[in-house]
């Protein structure tokens, strides 16, 4: 009994030691942690497999950017909204492509870039018009005569 009793204690330390070796969890987690570091390679492999994707928002950005121009009517607000959305979507896609150029197709990158620039131009144009409208309205309220002269001519 005493031997048996002694043995288990001996076994226990061993058992404890065994857990302890994994318990030096750094070493236990050591093998687990590498996968996160290995995640980028799979992406690279995935891209290298020839599975290049289109950027998700490139087409939307391009279409919205172009539609922003005719949408300049209606106070310029729709032009502003469309333009800013196109700008943001295009910009985020351009960044995505630059982070991972192998994963996405180049044509969609070009589309995203074009959408970003179109959105930028439309936004600037809409902003100019909005500022202009505000100035005109302010001018019409404060100086009605000058406003009449400016817009109706001297007839």
């Amino acid at each position: 009994m005493s031997d048996e009793q002694q043995n288990p204690p001996q076994n226990n330390p061993i058992d404890l030691n065994k857990p302890e070796q994994p318990n030096t969890p750094p070493s236990g987690f050591g093998p687990i942690t590498p996968p996160p570091f290995q995640q980028p390679p799979p992406f690279g492999q995935f891209g290298g497999m020839g599975g290049q994707q289109n950027l998700p928002n490139a087409t939307v950005a391009l279409v919205l950017g172009i539609l922003a121009l005719p949408a300049c009517c209606f106070y310029g607000i729709f032009g502003l909204i469309f333009g800013i959305i196109a700008w943001a979507l295009g910009g985020s896609d351009v960044k995505k492509y630059q982070l991972n150029p192998t994963m996405y197709t180049e044509s969609s990158f070009k589309n995203a870039k074009a959408g970003k620039i179109c959105g930028m131009i439309a936004t600037i144009l809409s902003l100019l018009f909005i500022i202009f409208f505000v100035l005109i309205i302010a001018g019409a309220i404060t100086h009605p005569e000058a406003y009449d002269r400016f817009f109706k001519g001297f007839n």
């Binding site: 121009l69 300049c72 209606f74 106070y75 589309n111 144009l125 409208f133 019409a140």
Partner: protein
């Protein structure tokens, strides 16, 4: 078929949306003339279309070109769209300045 088309254009020309900006403030916004211009373009009158709104024909071009580009993926399509867009923006802007300058805003 042609009659149907004509009646559609006729209906369109009598049902264009009124510009809210023009209605409230009494002068044209930068997009005013676009609908009249599109209607004259549908009627086949390019000159009238240009006179109403010079940017309509390039706009139609860029929209059709974009549709084809997204379908067939031209090599230089994106840069063509970029420069065309810049040109159209310039046309819209210059047109509006010109309208102010020649007192056409209040029609």
């Amino acid at each position: 078929m042609i009659l149907q088309q004509l009646s559609f254009i006729d209906w369109l020309s009598h049902h264009s949306l009124a510009c809210p900006f023009k209605r409230y403030f009494g002068y044209d916004c930068p997009g005013c003339g676009l609908q009249r211009s599109v209607v004259s373009l549908l009627e086949g009158d390019f000159l009238a279309s240009f006179k109403y709104y010079p940017a309509t024909i390039p706009l139609v071009f860029i929209i059709i070109f974009t549709a084809f580009h997204l379908k067939f993926d031209f090599k230089v399509g994106a840069s063509v769209i970029k420069f065309a867009f810049l040109g159209i923006a310039a046309i819209v802007f210059i047109n509006y300045i010109y309208k102010i300058y020649t007192h056409q805003l209040i029609a």
